[in-house]
Amino acid sequence: MIKRVTIYGDSFAEPQWANSHPTWYGRLRDRWPDTVNYGKSGAGPMYSFKQFYQDLPKLNYEDLIVFVMSGAPRIYFNIKEAPSDDIHQWNNNICRKIVDKTHRPSDHFQSESEFDKWASLNIDKARFALDTFRDETIYGNWKYESLLYTASRIQKCKIFIWCLSLNQNEMSNGKESYIKTSLNDDYFYVHDESLEEACSNEYVEAAQEKVDNETAKDKDGRKRKIEELRAERERYDLNYRINHFTEMNHEVMYKQVTGFVDGREIPKFLKNVYKGTYNKDEFIYD
């Protein structure tokens, strides 16, 4: 019987978001009041695992772990210069601006006051750190999920994982899963839809009819066009969604976790349910 829930992850789990409707983690807390949420926007697994390593020896059959496995290249740099309250957010800036696809700090980051200060002191050292731990970063998620799996065997706790990306592709950039769904059972579960795709698939295909008329016989062309339009929607969206999801999919996420715990069917994410919110003069195709 589950008594405690611990949540780790990034903005998909961040509890500080504006709370205008029930959230998946809020509903978990309603059911299990002893719920702790360590989700932090912009955080990578390296940040999450700092906490998990401390929690691991105490876990047992009464624990449910919910993990959003975000991008391993989000390095949690050692930052002495930042005030402690800002340390994560600042780190988030650094992560996003100096780490390029090859996991090496870029020479072309934008300057910001706090960031400048950190960079002037640490940029060479940060590069050296990433050169030293390059492979540990690229393959980081595969070791992390392996540890979660062995933890579920040894501690007998239940572990539920959402991945940002499930398959390796140009965009996955260290976020993909090695295990995928191959070892799912009563103790361990990796959801078979990636959060990035689920989030993107929420956008309605409002221009579908238009696309169908233009490219009726070209199946690949139709798919490509819909993806282009969806990407354009995402780019201009003011994105008022809490944790990148509409309320409907927060409900689905809650049911996914509880479905795993209760041994019930685990529902799929809803698609085509969100139109987005846009500034009038910027964009709209439909």
Binding site: Y76, N78, F128, I154
Partner: protein, 255 residues
């Protein structure tokens, strides 16, 4: 195919003064297993061995067997910049994080420190320090993650995996998940090596290593047996006279 990863306990090229050591009259365990690819390298830790494993692990199948020695988690394979790469004298693991003084120090060897290594250290020790501070928790948990990843490879690739540790103190799994595919030997190789000496606890550490891969023939036999049967068998203890090894140093040096 049998692939071996690890440090000096498996290194096929362990030498002293250019000569293979301890190979008098017997073949070491890693040469008795048939056709193997041996990636083991003295002085290295799981940080280095995992880099080698990452290149191969997705190709393993049910016909393969991985033998992995998880050595010291704090042996970091630090980045060596281009300007120093041609210098053979640099072993990146020689720079080590000292948890007591909380900084990077250069490994103290019996021989004189090569000049290039010292230059590399002088120029980059603050970078190493920063890298260790940034990745501190990741380094501290490298053993746990390494054994878990090896266990996962045995599940997904369906290959055999045999794991030894220098010390089992940091092992998370120990032998709790051993089965037909995965075997973790729950007894440290460093302990086994030390305990070969007669009255080891009283005599403490000898100065020089004269044994192939830190083990005598008797324990090479046992090591081979463990790998082939994948069942627990204790190492032989208390049978090596340490006198020839010169008992003058406080620390036993594992290269």
């Amino acid at each position: 195919m049998i692939d071996i990863y690890g440090d000096s306990f498996a290194d096929p090229a362990v030498t002293i003064a250019g000569k293979p050591i301890g190979y008098g009259g017997f073949r070491p365990w890693h040469e008795r297993l048939g056709k193997v690819r041996n990636f083991a390298k003295s002085s290295t830790g799981p940080h280095y061995s995992l880099r080698e494993l990452y290149k191969c692990y997705k190709k393993y199948t049910k016909d393969d067997h991985i033998i992995f020695i998880i050595s010291g988690h704090n042996r970091i394979h630090f980045h060596v910049p281009e300007e120093f790469k041609q210098k053979d004298s640099i072993c990146p693991e020689d720079a080590m994080w000292d948890p007591v003084i909380q900084r990077i120090t250069l490994y103290k060897e019996h021989r004189k420190k090569p000049q290039e290594k010292q230059k590399w250290y002088d120029k980059h020790n603050q970078h190493m320090d920063y890298a260790c501070r940034t990745f501190q928790e990741e380094i501290d948990t490298l053993t746990e993650k390494c054994e878990s990843f090896l266990y996962m490879i045995s599940r997904l690739q369906q290959c055999k995996v045999t794991v030894f540790l220098l010390s089992t103190a940091r092992s998370y799994m120990k032998d709790r998940l051993n089965d037909d595919l995965f075997y973790l030997h729950n007894y440290g190789l460093m302990t086994a090596s030390n305990e070969e000496f007669i009255n080891f606890k009283q005599n403490r550490y000898p100065k020089w290593e004269l044994r192939a891969n830190h083990l005598s023939k008797e324990n090479h036999d046992i090591m081979t047996d463990i790998i082939q049967t994948r069942t627990f068998k204790p190492f032989k203890k208390n049978f090596v006279d340490s006198t020839p090894f010169e008992q003058v140093e406080e620390r036993f040096i594992y290269d």
